[in-house]
Symmetry: C2
Subunit: 169 residues, 2 copies
Amino acid sequence: MKTTIIVAEPLTKEAFAPYGDVIETQDSHHFSINAGMVERHHDLAKLDIDYADGGRPIISFFEILEGSSFPIEFDLVERHPKGSQAFIPMFDEPVALVVAAKDSDVTGADLRAFVTNGKQGFNFHAGVWHMPLVSEEKGRMFVIVDRAGPGNNCDELTFENEKIELQIP
Amino acid sequence: MKTTIIVAEPLTKEAFAPYGDVIETQDSHHFSINAGMVERHHDLAKLDIDYADGGRPIISFFEILEGSSFPIEFDLVERHPKGSQAFIPMFDEPVALVVAAKDSDVTGADLRAFVTNGKQGFNFHAGVWHMPLVSEEKGRMFVIVDRAGPGNNCDELTFENEKIELQIP
């Protein structure tokens, strides 16, 4: 059994562009509404939904039932071929994520890890491999925007003879 | 000039059903994912988007630029005929909202006011009249899921000879 260590780098729009969108106010297209009382940071993620056969975008909440501590070990990634999946934390703490490019065969060598600055969400483009969501504290909540509808929309891949150890700097 | 006083009632799914959805974990359809580490509270709002001519759902952030204090006075409501609009606070404090039924002529007598329990979001169905978003503290953030696309998607109505005073109990 091989252990591959990956260290999370800061999440930025540039670094994350091959995998999805960083959902944040920084460098957003923004303008004021409601007679100047509210700023609208507009259209922060590319929602890519397969609408065939009644596919549709939905809003859900993900609630952390079991906290994780770093370094985190995992041996499974997943992808959603029929839709993007956006995660917006409802708390102000960093979140770590691991991705691999859409068409990669995915071994530890293909993975890249990021960590948010505590104010960012992220949107995986359809088909992008990612580590299932983890967070340190039980009870934390995320807003999720993804797809519901018929057909398989979740592929899982378990690494053989390889474990991934995710570290944050 | 007439002043109509409305007092916010607690936001519940039952009371709010004619206007939209309460986005909350309470009484949600939920199930565990990620090997039991995460609970998915699934499909919490009816996203109703007019997709004609390239209309599409988007994620935005609304940032409060100017805080309001109660009682709040207003004389304008708005509606979005081409799409639902979901508001999910990224903070744990109550939010007040005012709505009127879709097809009403809208005077003060048609308005109903609600206040969240600090853990709820809300989704206005397409065409439902509502007071523009207000909140007490500058810097508060909301996740918004609504529609982008061509065509008018915002009607405003200013009351003549009537001011509304919104109170929270």
